[in-house]
C-alpha cells in the first residue's frame, strides 16, 4: 500500500493523501520519460529525479499510480496542481534513487520488468 511505501521511504506527501490506501505491487525508477512510456506497466510506482510538468503528464499517460521524487526534491506548486488534477499522489523522499529502490525492493515491491536478455525485454507475468 502507498501508506507503507511512504513509511519505508520516510517520505513526505506533497499531494494525494486521500490515496494512501492505494495498493501498489510494482515499482520502476527512471529519469527518462521515454523509458517510462516504453517499459512501465499500469499501476506501477515511479521513482524519479526528473522534476517537471512532463513527469506528471507521462505518469498520467502511462497509468503510473504514484510518483516519488528522490533526493529530497520538492515539486513546485504548478507540478502539484497538475498531479492533483490527474489524481496522481506525489511523494518526496530524502533517500537517493539507489537507496530508495533498494529499500522498496527488499520489502517486496516487484520490478515492472524481467532482466533483459539478448536485447529482448519482457514484462513480468
Amino acid at each position: 500500500m502507498l501508506r507503507e511505501i511512504r513509511e519505508i521511504l520516510s517520505a513526505d506527501m506533497c499531494t494525494g493523501e486521500e490515496h494512501l490506501d492505494m495498493r501498489i505491487q510494482f515499482g520502476s525508477a527512471s529519469d527518462l520519460m521515454s523509458d517510462v512510456l516504453a517499459f512501465s506497466r499500469s499501476g506501477a510506482l515511479l521513482l524519479t529525479g526528473l522534476m517537471n510538468v512532463q513527469t506528471i503528464q507521462t505518469a498520467f499517460i502511462a497509468d503510473i499510480s504514484a510518483v516519488v521524487f528522490v533526493r529530497g526534491k520538492r515539486p513546485t506548486d504548478e507540478i502539484c496542481a497538475l498531479a492533483k488534477e490527474k489524481r496522481i499522489p506525489l511523494l518526496s523522499t530524502p533517500y537517493s534513487m539507489y537507496e530508495a529502490c533498494g529499500r522498496l525492493y527488499s520489502k517486496g515491491l516487484l520490478s515492472t520488468m524481467k532482466p533483459v536478455c539478448e536485447g529482448t525485454v519482457q514484462e513480468e507475468e
Binding site: 520519460m33 521515454s34 512510456l37 512532463q54
Partner: protein
Amino acid sequence: MSASFSRSFTIEGRDFLNAGRASTQIKTILKELSVDPAIIRRVAIASYEAEMNVVMYATRAKLKFTMSASAINLEIDDEGPGIPDITLAMQEGYSTATSQMRELGFGAGMGLPNMKKNSDEFVIESAVSKGTRLTMTIYIN
C-alpha cells in the same frame, strides 16, 4: 455507440509548456466512454509519443482522433523537417534529440518504435523539408 466520434487538435512545435495536452484530453475522453483501460493506455502512449515528437521537432501538426465501434485511429500530420531515413529512425536508440529535449526526459530514441509497438496498424510517411504523417490504428475488440 454512434458510427464514429472524432476530435481534432492543433499541436504547436516548441510549445513544451502545453506538450501532452491533446493526448491527456484523448485519454480523458476514452475514460469517460468506458473503453478498456488496456486499450486506453496504448492509445494514450502512442498519441503522447507522437505529440512529443511534434513539439520537439516540427513547426506544428494536426492530430485527428477518430473512434468507431471497432477501432481507434490517430492521424498526426505535421509541417516540419521530415525524416530522411525512416528505417534508421525506427531503430530503438536512434535519436537526433538536442540536450534540451533530453533534459525533459525525452529523446532516447524510443518514440517511433514505441508507437509501433502500441499500434495494431502503423504507417509512417515522410518528405524531407515538408513533414511527416503518422497513421496509427488500435483495434477495440
